[in-house]
Symmetry: C2
Subunit: 258 residues, 2 copies
């Protein structure tokens, strides 16, 4: 079995090495196609407006000067075209991807791209915000990754569904199937004044929705591993009927629009 | 009624002026908080790692050196704190936001942020890829925007649901409630060689899923306006049970994990 391994922290992150080891331990031959530098703060869109450079850095390892999504797209459509991977594994991200943040995550975006291209995909992240400077410890997350990969192999994953795995700090006390929670930032914006007397603003204050029982956020906060199944379709189907009824009464509806 | 108007093309885009006019025509007082430059190619995440500058450019107009999401967050949580907007309108984007692309769109992200902060939100985009150089014509999109805004006022929008509106080129022949379609890029990656003999890759070839009846993609391709209700929760609920069953058999499940 072949696994494409990517991430958004870049090829030099210890997290991607931990994920490679986990995949190998679960029986995979690993092929790495990852960004040449950290991409956490950049867009995770496909790069369509400029060409991309691909550099081979090892027997089954390449770097791309693009986003995680670029890496997975180029890997599946070009680099590994003749050796189509059985899985895409993304991570292990340095920092959690929980709640609404998943829509902005490069790590999760790589798994989205794999899913879009028809390859079962799993994203892994480690909650290590409280790192005291000793560097993150990926050892527990590596064990979790191996185990989750084995669970994914036990029977086929649902089509168009990826798994978003988040590992708490320290030793996890369990693992739970969760739903995406609700995180809010910014309800406390800080205003300060710079040395030249000009004001600036800093978006602060993260609020964790502790009322979301069964969410990824509360599960990881309680010290358990969360595994959230995500799909690609954002359509709010329950609202379609109401919307169609409104539009039916619209002037713009029909060929006689004027 | 107050409307917060933002976009991802930046304050100088003719699209945001068209949207302001549409909102005013529908009875709104408009407050503009927009990026100081085009943000289409940047991340739409919140900017948490650096401070943001806010510059007042008019009586009810500000620019922010951040993303569309930053603009909406700062506007609702700080700038307009005492005059909470009744709606957020984002756009009119220069280019469509259809299918899977909506997860990468700054225009839609601004509407997501409004929704997250509890304000009903609508994103507007104009399909103007075939612009021949004369500059985009927002006049039809402006009419559509006014009409859709009036429809949103007719009764409350569903909580946690935003509308993603896409206007076709030319004069629309109707308007339809749609679901998010499936777009694929990159199945044809182009390899070329630069003047110094080094290869480069260009992700190309967009594929529109024409089999998705009722999708936003096919609706706009047919010359109609699409209105897709989107929600924020990506959880694939239908997969939760299967996932929970797998995890129940996992070694990692329970306090005796070793």
């Amino acid at each position: 079995m072949r696994a494409l391994v990517s991430n958004d922290d870049g090829i030099h992150s210890p997290g991607i090495e931990a994920l490679e080891r986990a995949a190998k331990a679960a029986g995979f031959e690993t092929w790495v196609v990852a960004p040449d530098r950290e991409q956490s703060a950049t867009s995770h869109a496909l790069t369509l407006t400029r060409p991309l450079r691909v550099v081979k850095t090892g027997e089954r390892s390449w770097v791309v000067d693009g986003t995680p999504t670029d890496c997975v797209n180029l890997a599946i459509c070009r680099i590994l075209k003749d050796v189509r991977p059985d899985f895409v594994f993304s991570g292990i991200n340095l920092g959690p991807n929980l709640g609404d943040d998943v829509t902005y995550s490069g790590t999760v975006a790589a798994a989205f791209e794999g899913t879009l291209l028809g390859v079962p995909s799993i994203a892994f992240s480690l909650d290590c915000r409280k790192d005291g400077g000793a560097g993150p410890d990926f050892s527990e997350a590596e064990k979790v990754a191996e185990e989750v990969i084995r669970l994914a192999l036990s029977r086929p994953m649902a089509e168009d569904v990826l798994w978003n795995v988040n590992v708490p700090e320290g030793r996890p006390t369990g693992i739970r199937a969760t739903r995406m929670g609700r995180r809010r930032y910014g309800e406390s914006v800080v205003e300060k004044v710079d040395p030249r007397g000009r004001p600036y603003y800093w978006i602060g204050g993260s609020h964790v929705d502790t009322h979301s029982d069964g969410s990824d956020l509360t599960t990881v906060a309680e010290g358990l591993v969360s595994v959230t199944p995500l799909h690609l379709d954002l359509t709010a189907y329950r609202s379609l009927e109401d919307l169609a009824a409104r539009l039916a009464g619209s002037r713009a509806n029909g060929p006689d629009r004027s």
